[in-house]
């Protein structure tokens, strides 16, 4: 496109030019292939390092014991952090899932283009907010002048999860064939019964997939934990409204900045637990999504 076509020139390229063009072509293709290999190599290197450093830590007692609480001492586990992370993410999901699904229902089933636009914009902006900004917001809203709580962290995670859940749910609701809705209407069935009884069940698998992806994303979020749930005791607690809860991302963060080798070891162990959870979540979601798409489309 960059060279204008000259009708006077013969269509066949001259020998040297052709060779040069082929060489350039092969070089560029080689570079592109190499780039893809670099990306895969980075992924493999990171996962293998985490796995090999973390595996030596992993044991039943690492998963079931609380930290010793002694600075720099070896031993102890991350049980309290696993419980805390699970609590924080579960409460966040309980808030974000209904909200995200309701927003998606509004956007696909009820809204007109004019009302949908500001809501879509808000979702996009929420999705683009860095988690540290959301964390500072929740810090100002719930923690400043009070104290850190696990719930504050849940609240921040919920803000992160809502646009993710809303988006995947929307995609899934759109995949439900319009004929299904029309048929239901033709039978005299009201809109809400159609949505609750037909549209949502058809898209249920996809909605759950979106939820799994959002949970995997939330489980690794560290900025909200650092600001909202980082000052905690060593013991296991589920008092999410009263105190900050120990959690895996913060353990990895603080242990990574420590100077003690035993802390680094614990960070690798916790990182392995977290990355395994996230990878399993992502792979399951991917498999579910593929199956769900096929199922809806084949209707």
């Amino acid at each position: 496109m960059s060279v204008p076509l000259d009708p006077a020139r013969p269509l066949t390229a001259t020998g040297g030019n052709l060779r040069r063009r082929r060489r350039v072509d092969q070089t560029v293709r080689g570079i592109a292939t190499l780039a893809a290999l670099v990306a895969v190599a980075i992924l493999v290197i990171v996962i293998v390092t985490v796995a090999s450093n973390g595996a030596s830590q992993l044991s039943i007692s690492f998963l079931t014991k609380d930290p010793t609480g002694v600075l720099g001492a070896a031993g102890g586990g991350i049980a309290s952090a696993i419980v805390g992370s699970a609590m924080i993410v579960a409460v966040a999901t309980a808030m974000a899932l209904p909200l995200g699904v309701l927003i998606a229902i509004y956007l696909t089933e009820f809204s007109k283009p004019r009302t949908a636009r500001p809501i879509r914009l808000a979702l996009d902006l929420l999705n683009g907010l860095p988690s540290i900004v959301i964390a500072v917001f929740v810090f100002g809203l719930l923690v400043e002048g009070h104290q850190q709580t696990g719930f504050a962290a849940s609240f921040a995670l919920a803000i992160i999860m809502v646009p993710l859940i809303a988006r995947t749910t929307q995609e899934m609701l759109r995949l439900v064939p319009q004929e299904l809705r029309d048929a239901s209407h033709a039978l005299g069935i009201s809109r809400w019964r159609t949505i609750v009884g037909i549209v949502l069940p058809s898209a249920l698998g996809g909605i759950l997939t979106g939820m799994v992806l959002a949970v995997a994303r939330a489980a690794g979020e560290t900025a909200p934990m650092l600001l909202l749930s980082s000052i905690f005791g060593v013991g296991t607690t589920i008092n999410i409204f009263g105190t900050a809860l120990p959690n895996i991302p913060y353990i990895i963060f603080s242990d990574s900045e420590s100077g003690f080798p035993s802390d680094h070891a614990r960070a690798w162990g916790a990182a392995l637990v977290l990355i395994a959870f996230i990878l399993v979540g992502n792979l399951t979601a991917r498999a579910m999504l593929a199956r769900q798409r096929r199922r809806i489309m084949s209707r």
């Binding site: 992924l43 808000a122 996009d124 860095p130 540290i132 809303a166």
Partner: protein
């Protein structure tokens, strides 16, 4: 249409429930949707509110002054004078490094996955590249501190210093391997999958006839890619870059772990620095004074403003691009 309730057999209580149910569901979903708007507005309000004393004290000068002097007691010279100059420089420098690495690499990956990879291989590599985006930043940070930084210190930074040392930004290698450069490199790893997957999707959206047409005219693969594929998706690639930038600007955790929390403005990328997001991560939980907390909120406002501008720009480009494509087809 002339059917009476008796004829359809639907009792009137059911019709009432239907009408109420419709109203109730549409109202609930509307309220949920409005909540999303309320949250965005509330975030903006709350951050500006928390920063208000700092905004009125330091004004716009906050953006280029780089004194950061928290003090719990009065009497110290320059006590509680704050400026975000150093932090904005750190944010810009780390994001620029990330983009310089990730944009060419990401576009090349997009080219490979959409146009060059044999079907089976592409189907394996594509999800792997996307999985890279799922790795939490705290784990990349951990990997960066314990694995990458020593390599940076021993090999990469000395090599760059030897070859490019005449340019002041490649100064003497850092003693720990931590610094602005290392933070930028790890940010590049986070930005890479975003740019790669967006550009792959963009390239796949180029109509097949255009690609085949170029090939049929005797263009090599690369000439087809440069002339047809890259040319027609340029606005989309700009948008992808901006989305990558948005991710890089806002990353707090990995940058905190790797940038070294410096407080001196330095020309060399191998020195310690700090960014807006990482300063927030370091200091919000333990401010020494209310002025410091307000200054931190001011940093959050600056960060939020940068993100909103960046995101809205990306959306405008995408929308413009979609409209143009709509005309094309």
């Amino acid at each position: 249409m002339s059917a009476t309730p008796a004829a359809t057999g639907i009792p009137s209580s059911r019709r009432l429930a239907d009408r109420l149910g419709d109203r109730l569901l549409s109202a609930t979903t509307l309220v949920a949707s409005l909540a999303a708007i309320v949250v965005i507005v509330l975030v903006i309000y709350k951050l500006i509110d928390g920063a208000s004393t700092s905004i009125s004290t330091f004004g716009l000068g906050f953006l280029w002054h780089s004194t950061w002097n928290p003090a719990s007691s009065a009497g110290v010279a320059n006590a509680n004078v704050f400026g975000a100059g150093l932090l904005i420089y750190g944010t810009v420098a780390t994001s620029a490094i990330a983009l310089l690495i990730a944009v060419p690499l990401g576009i090349a990956i997009g080219v490979y996955l959409s146009l060059l990879a044999p079907g089976g291989i592409g189907a394996v590599i594509s999800p792997l590249v996307e999985l890279l985006a799922a790795i939490p930043s705290v784990i990349l940070g951990l990997w960066g501190i314990l694995i990458l930084a020593p390599v940076m210190h021993s090999t990469i930074e000395p090599a760059l210093h030897d070859v490019l040392g005449f340019i002041p930004i490649f100064g003497t290698p850092s003693p720990t391997g931590l610094g602005v450069f290392t933070a930028g490199v790890v940010l590049a790893i986070m930005v890479l999958p975003i740019i790669a997957s967006i550009s792959r999707d963009l390239f796949l959206s180029v109509p097949r006839e255009l690609k085949d047409g170029a090939l049929a005219l005797g263009a090599t693969r690369w000439e087809m890619i440069r002339g047809v594929v890259l040319d027609s998706t340029r606005p989309g690639l700009v948008a992808a870059t901006i989305l990558g930038l948005s991710r890089a600007i806002g990353e707090a955790i990995a940058v905190t772990q790797l940038i070294g929390a410096g407080s001196v403005l330095s020309g060399s990328l191998f020195n310690n620095g700090d960014s807006l997001a990482s300063r927030l991560a370091e200091q919000v939980t333990s401010p020494q004074s209310s002025q410091q907390l307000a200054a931190l909120f001011y940093c959050a406002v600056v960060l939020l403003a940068m993100e909103l501008v960046v995101n809205l720009t990306a959306q405008m480009i995408v929308r413009h691009f979609e409209r143009r494509q709509g005309v094309l087809h």
